[in-house]
């Protein structure tokens, strides 16, 4: 391929039409002279071809010799574009100024925002950052992020980690406060039962056990007493004093969680119909400013859900919120159940109620499901009991250890 199309796209080329009887002769002459031609096609009346600008002059002569008429259809190429732009210098200058201004302005930090602070005030951190040299208006290239982070950690002892990020013109200071490890104070105290249960095993680390396997304990009962009674020395006359200590140990017991569920043979179901209306409220700084939507909900029975979204956060100094309340129409449908279905429904409700009482991570040892007389007509009752084995010892006054 010896036509550098890219070169001609820059220096400029023409699309011309050739009309006449002997267009082939014209093309052959041009070809022999070494004039670059490309994209030659012949239509009904005339031929069209592309050639470069400098050769056009020679082509004119050839056309005369072969009896053809030339016409320029299109001028293309970067060179033509540049000459067009030259006539509109103002446009070009304005564009360049715009780009330069945008670039310059974006090289400064315009906003400083703080994230991740829970105990410390954002204003406080901002002031510390400003002391370290990071304030709105400072040039980005003169700012050392690591230096600022370092200064902040040194200045505020409550901070565990500081990260400084520059996103565009906004500087985000992410902080993580220190988590105070709770002081393990050695105040004397007993271990009491957190729940009712049947004691299975007692492990004492320090203190004296007050219950034995097989005992039934109730919530709050003292399981391990925080006292040490040193043994009397052999042959000693004085009774040694009991020392008050913090009770430590585990008491494993069987705990039962019970759930009771009922189902009626004539169940009322709440089904959403799909229709809903929405009400929008705009809150500025906590005050409702604008409310769009119906005042009254036109449905008999409905369920409401509200979505709050904070807009303009970080841009305006006061909080602006948009609250969308969606009211979904509910239809109450009566359904007749068979005895078996009602039974299943009641069992399901009982199971659910029992299982939500379970603390996390506890294995269920035994499950007992029994029917229970609900005590009223047209209802079915089911009792679901879960048995677990847990450590029910807890500190008398939590807050230590």
């Amino acid at each position: 391929m010896s036509i550098p199309k890219i070169r001609y796209a820059i220096t400029g080329y023409l699309e011309i039409s050739v009309e006449g009887r002997a267009t082939e002769k014209f093309i052959n002459l041009a070809m022999h002279q070494g004039i670059p031609l490309w994209n030659i096609r012949h239509g009904a009346e005339y031929a069209v071809l592309n050639t470069d600008v400098d050769s056009f002059f020679d082509l004119r002569h050839l056309a005369k010799r072969s009896g053809c008429r030339l016409r320029i259809r299109r001028k293309a190429g970067l060179a033509f574009l540049v000459s067009r732009l030259n006539r509109r210098r103002g446009l070009v200058a304005g564009l360049l100024i715009f780009v330069a201004t945008l670039y310059t302005l974006s090289s400064f930090v315009l906003f400083v925002s703080v994230e991740g602070n829970e105990r410390l005030k954002a204003e406080h951190i901002r002031r510390l950052a400003a002391d370290a040299g990071a304030r709105p208006g400072v040039a980005k290239w003169r700012l050392n992020k690591d230096e600022v982070a370092h200064q902040l950690i040194l200045a505020e002892p409550e901070l565990a980690w500081v990260g400084v990020q520059i996103r565009g013109t906004r500087m985000v200071i992410e902080v993580k406060e220190k988590i105070k490890s709770p002081v393990a104070f050695e105040q004397p105290g007993h271990l009491v039962a957190a729940k009712d249960g049947l004691v299975d095993e007692v492990l004492v680390i320090s203190g004296v056990a007050r219950v034995a396997p097989g005992d039934t304990v109730s919530k709050g009962q003292v399981l391990i007493e925080g006292a040490l009674r040193p043994q009397a020395e052999q042959g000693g006359t004085t009774v040694p004093q009991t020392v008050a200590v913090r009770a430590r140990g585990e008491v494993w017991a069987r705990v039962w969680y019970e759930g009771y569920g009922e189902a009626a043979l004539l169940e009322t179901e709440r089904v959403p119909t799909g229709r809903h209306v929405a009400v929008w409220t705009l809150l500025v700084d906590g005050q409702p400013v604008l409310r769009v939507g119906r005042r009254q909900v036109p449905y008999l029975d409905y369920e409401q859900s509200a979505v709050r979204s904070a807009i303009f956060k970080g841009i305006l100094p006061f909080p602006v919120e948009l609250v969308t309340e969606s009211n979904y129409e509910i239809e109450r449908r009566k359904q007749r159940l068979t005895l078996k279905q009602a039974h299943e429904l009641a069992a399901e409700r009982a199971r659910f109620l029992a299982e939500i009482q379970l603390p996390g991570g506890v294995a269920v040892e035994n499950v007992a499901v029994t029917n229970q007389n609900p005590g009223r007509e047209g209802f079915v009752g089911v009792r679901h009991v879960l048995e677990t084995r847990e450590n029910i010892a807890e500190d008398e006054n939590p807050g230590g250890d």
Partner: protein, 93 residues
């Protein structure tokens, strides 16, 4: 070309020395890519061209390329490139 006898001698010489035949015999070399592109080297001019038929003059005869939407992508003094949907390539020697 000076007759069939001399042509044969030149052909044997080309084979012996493993020279490309089109240079020794001054014949056209045609490269066809699928039915999309055709590249002919060593031609002598364009006889006729339209979007259905392109006729090129070569040493010894003619080459006719017929098809549809034919465009002469490049025309140089030694080679020519034709784009389009090519149906037939015909040699007339």
């Amino acid at each position: 070309m000076s007759g069939k006898g001399a042509g044969k001698w030149r052909q044997s010489l080309a084979d012996l020395l493993e020279l490309p035949r089109e240079i020794v015999l001054n014949l056209p070399r045609l490269t066809v890519i699928g039915n999309l592109q055709c590249y002919l080297e060593n031609h002598r001019g364009v006889i006729e061209y339209s979007s259905e038929k392109v006729r090129l003059s070569v040493n010894g005869g003619e080459v006719t390329i017929s098809g549809s939407d034919l465009v002469i992508r490049y025309l140089g003094s030694e080679e020519v490139a034709i784009d389009g949907t090519i149906n037939t390539v015909r040699y007339e020697f």
